[in-house]
């Protein structure tokens, strides 16, 4: 598989390349040199050449990179050309913000259902979705071939939900609960830990004084 030998450090940089190349395409730019890309994206030109060499010959000496070919290839490596079905659990403010987030479709993700355990909000509509009772997660996952669970729940209860999702066949978790989940090795977990981000900001502010 194309991406198999690419290091995780490079992979973590790919979304940034993808985003900047997409912006350039939106502005009808067709070719760019590693030097010009370096000025926009902030990595060194040699870092960029090294990273992009990982997936073939899109750069031509003296002509720069073909932006569209590179954008498409990085999209493929990131798996953005494949559709994934997701459900979102925890339809509070954060969950609603995520459900309304337009970036999903661009990334090939489709939210198929929203769930919450709070009787006060079960039945409410967010965009095209009615908030469903968390009791119905298992049936819904099986009937709708759900790949990914998005956890927008507090720390308490997050592990139990993760266990339930894994038990009914989910393959990946996008976890906003401020904790590390214990899951089998073949389950993918991507954490968004706001507390850790805030602590890092605090540290950098302190050092900057």
């Amino acid at each position: 598989m194309a991406g198999k030998n690419i290091s995780m450090a490079v992979i973590r940089r790919l979304p940034k390349y993808y985003r900047y190349l997409g912006d350039l395409l939106d502005n009808d730019v067709q070719r760019i040199s590693s030097k010009e890309l370096s000025e926009i994206i902030g990595f060194t030109a040699s870092q960029i050449r090294q990273d992009l060499n990982n997936f073939g010959g899109f750069g031509q000496q003296g002509y720069g990179y073909n932006i569209e070919a590179l954008h498409t290839e990085i999209g493929k490596i990131l798996g953005l050309d494949r559709p994934y079905n997701a459900i979102l659990i925890g339809a509070g403010n954060l969950g609603q913000a995520i459900a309304n987030y337009s970036g999903f479709r661009k990334a090939g993700f489709e939210i198929k259902g929203l769930f919450d355990a709070n009787p006060k909000i079960i039945g409410l509509k967010i965009r095209e979705f009615e908030i469903l009772d968390s009791d119905k997660i298992e049936d819904f996952v099986k009937e709708n071939k759900i790949d990914i669970g998005i956890l927008c729940v507090p720390k308490n209860g997050a592990q139990e939900l993760a266990d339930r999702l894994v038990a009914c066949g989910i393959k990946g978790l996008w976890n906003f609960a401020p904790m590390d989940l214990n899951v089998p090795e073949d389950i993918i977990v991507e954490n968004v830990n706001l507390t850790e981000s805030l602590f890092t900001l605090s540290y950098l502010m302190k050092e900057d004084e």
Copy 2:
């Protein structure tokens, strides 16, 4: 300063130590060995000893680490013992989720005001705060000694807001807009880029197939 010579890689791990040590304290655990900590936190015991050696002698051979002393010290290094005043701009779902987020006070951050440019929500109350007109940001920052701006706005307009905040003396930005901000070197920016996180999840899912 205590933290000056600690590498950024170690700093990025400190919030995780801080969080786990806090959980242990909540459960009245007083001492822990690097081996036990390793089983909980997932780093190797030797990594843990190396990391924690960076800030002094809290581990005693055969006794393990004094959890409370270590927790306090890491909190100091992270600057969590200092208060920072913040304003939040963009009071949509994401902004409201962040404003309601209880982790702020624990991290020594206090949100002093919420702002939005949308006349439909200006004047609404979120927790104890009335949503104020974005036009009033400059006066508010000066009157309330605001250190940090939290940007929960879309891509369009984020740079302009960042420029305004920097011009009126803000020192740090917690940026949720899906773009990199151009700011002077002495301004701290911590990005939470949900799109990049989602792309990483997509990549890992694809590789796992």
